[in-house]
Point group: C2
Chain length 452, copies 2
């Protein structure tokens, strides 16, 4: 239906209709056909094959790892330290990498070959350190449309990795005339905490409630920045509601502090429109960070960051003498992938599949366990938390599950203050498990835990 017809039928302006269409297109719900208009896309989730977790499929590790496939990802590394590692894991809720099937290998190979044919002469030309204008323009368009991020192309910096984005943030923040303290979520991502500490910043644990960071506690802190995961707090899974987002933005402006927004799970908001990013509420004081790696290929190694405009001069002083952080032969295919609309279509497919897995997992857990467990963090992201309503330790839950062939992860490592740890809670990541395997996996969990 044309935007004019919709506008007339609903008595709203054509701009509003256009914006709504743009949003639907960005989220991959509708597709654009040249000179014809927009069409709703259908997708049958069950049509996708169900592989087993990559961890047990593709790894070929020779360093003494004893997990089924030798995977060296963080979750699996943590697993190794567990006494139960010798058990055979049949269903693995510990891997945060999507299934190999989902990676757009054929499209990527086609685009790389296209670069060799059509952009070969660009290979020899020296490249800009923060990325090619073409790719940065595509990213700027996408995050503006999908996450309301308000920035220029010049503010976008491509790097290899989220942790490297944080390294740059630290270098930009450190010379400020303040104590180098940074507030981090408690519990929160341990990898990022390590990066802050390695860069000489002091970590200040930040209290959380059911809406995310507690502003009154944050206000009392003397920090130059707060590191937040508002789209799906890790590990609690809280999605920060809009009023709290506004409070965070107001805090940053009042205290002359910065927000470091790690939006890694923004693509997986189920049943609701993603809330606007913190960056959209406080553009001049927010570092916005996101990544392509976990959704396209883990090995693509492209993350990006939006740097507040007033820090651009310092950014250039620090890095203009460097070579590009990301190779041209990665940037150009990604630019073409986005330009051809493949990125949004890929996102939609992956989101729909993950949503189906999330629903299936929640329903299976509720059906089997009834009121004997609580589930949290399932409205978004790629993982949820399970809290049994009986007294049990995290270790006991994990060991018991592993003995039954189900891999689940601890969350105690994400707390800085050990006394604050929630006991008897485990994390189930469904990124790397197939939809069809979820009911059987939950059955095994139920059999394992009913005896406790």
């Amino acid at each position: 239906m044309s935007s004019r017809t919709v506008s007339e039928e609903l008595h709203i302006s054509r701009n509003t209709v256009k914006l709504a269409y743009d949003q639907l297109f960005a989220e991959g719900i509708i597709a654009s056909v040249q000179r014809k208009g927009y069409y709703v896309e259908s997708l049958d989730v069950d049509a996708f094959p169900h592989n087993t977790c990559l961890c047990s499929v593709v790894c070929n590790c020779a360093d003494g790892c004893t997990c089924s496939g030798g995977c060296v990802c963080e979750v699996c590394a943590r697993k190794k330290s567990s006494e139960t590692q010798k058990q055979d894991i049949v269903y693995d809720f510990r891997c945060d990498k999507p299934l190999l099937f989902w990676f757009p290998c054929n499209q990527w190979q086609r685009l790389i070959n296209k670069c060799f044919h059509e952009y070969r002469e660009d290979f020899a030309c020296p490249k800009a350190v923060f990325g090619e204008t073409g790719l940065r323009t595509e990213i700027q368009r996408f995050i503006h449309s999908y996450r309301d991020v308000d920035c220029t192309v010049e503010q976008i910096v491509l790097t290899m990795d989220t942790q490297f984005c944080l390294d740059i943030v630290c270098q930009l923040l450190k010379p400020m005339d303040k104590e180098p303290n940074v507030a981090v979520e408690e519990p929160g991502l341990d990898q990022s905490r390590i990066t802050f500490q390695n860069n000489g910043l002091r970590i200040c644990p930040m209290e959380l409630d059911q809406h995310g960071a507690v502003i009154s506690a944050l206000t009392k802190m003397d920090v130059i920045a707060a590191y937040l995961t508002p789209s799906h707090q890790f590990p609690t899974g809280v999605v920060m509601p809009l009023p709290r987002r506004n409070e965070v933005a107001e805090w940053a402006m009042r205290k002359d502090a910065y927000i470091i927004e790690d939006d890694y799970n923004c693509y997986f908001q189920y049943g609701v429109r993603p809330l606007p990013s913190l960056q959209s509420l406080c553009a001049d004081r927010t570092f916005y960070i996101n990544s392509f790696s976990n959704i396209l290929f883990p090995c693509i190694n492209v993350s990006y960051m939006v740097v507040p405009e007033k820090l651009l001069a310092r950014l250039h002083n620090l890095f203009d003498n460097h070579g590009p952080f990301v190779s041209f032969l990665t940037q150009k295919p990604l630019e073409l992938f986005m330009k051809e609309g493949l990125w949004e279509s890929h996102l939609r497919k992956v989101r729909k599949n993950q949503n189906a897995k999330c629903e299936t997992l929640v329903n299976a857990l509720k059906n089997r366990f009834g009121d004997s467990i609580s589930i949290s963090g399932s409205s978004a992201g790629l993982h949820l938390l399970v809290h049994p309503n009986w007294t049990v330790t995290e270790d006991a839950l994990i060991n018991c599950a592993h003995q039954a062939g189900v891999g689940v992860s601890p969350i105690s490592g994400y707390w800085i203050k050990p006394e604050r740890k929630q006991d008897g809670t485990v994390l189930l990541n469904y990124a790397g498990i197939a939809l069809k395997d979820i009911p059987a996996a939950v059955n095994l969990l139920y059999e394992a835990w009913r005896e406790m």
Copy 2:
């Protein structure tokens, strides 16, 4: 001829013959044919087509650059600041990038496609931050054979760029219980000086003589490290002789200091066998740095570094929580490129061509200018220095050359102490100029400068 026959004829051990063959193979003088033996390779330099400099061929810059091709490389950026930039440059001795023709595009494309067919399952597997074992093993083998570098695979770190290697070196050196002073060559690479300064290190200019760094001056300094370019000092072009290399190694051991060896031009030693790296003389105190970018593709973005063994624990503490610095889809083709012997063959071809260009340039300069100029730094590398024997300023030489259509570079920017600058000296980089164009370019230079 078999190694046994050679051994018998020359009355030397077969091991010596084998070592000599390995060295010839590493340098690309001989090729190995399976089950047949080694064959001397012939190469007709004149058979290669002669393109014009990339700077004026492939660039398509839209940022207001007025150089002929819009190239944004460091040398050309410096050129922009010159008043003569509006002149049309016909022959350009300012570009340090090789000609597009030399890049092994077809081989690279074939190897990437091979990765999609044969290593697709590896795409999803999380990767080691410092690089894949396969590629690091190839690099270890090559630098051991070609540069006598003595290290394990674990000591090799792949990064995107030499400057990023230096960032890591700074982070490893800074916590030492000493003043963070680093000795740098005077004159020397300004890019590297900026990196040291941005990382909080203090720069101490180090006196040079005709053999490189003056040890007596270095000994008086209180520094944690000395940054050196012994294969072809930039910009003077001095190749550090073996006795001086031994003195540097002895200094590092005596003073408990580190050597940062930037071996960027080691591939271009003409008429002589490359001298052993400083790392081979002082393995436990040397960071050895080199790059693939300028020789394979400028856009490949792969440099590497050998980290002294005793600093590996700290290296892992700092970066183990990061993603890989270089993408798998760059690492794997490079590993295959090296495994198939293409790297050594490519190096040999490029070296032979650059050697021919160097000889042609020196001969042309001597023929035209006779005793009125001195030439230095032409025994290695990709550039040489021209010092007119009459009184003239650098600016006058450059402007006059540019007006005649020849691009040459200043060297005054490479000095820290302005009073030490050598006046009336310019730098001619022949990496990006075609062999056949050199006589005509020198003729133009002669016509331009004879009137001064």
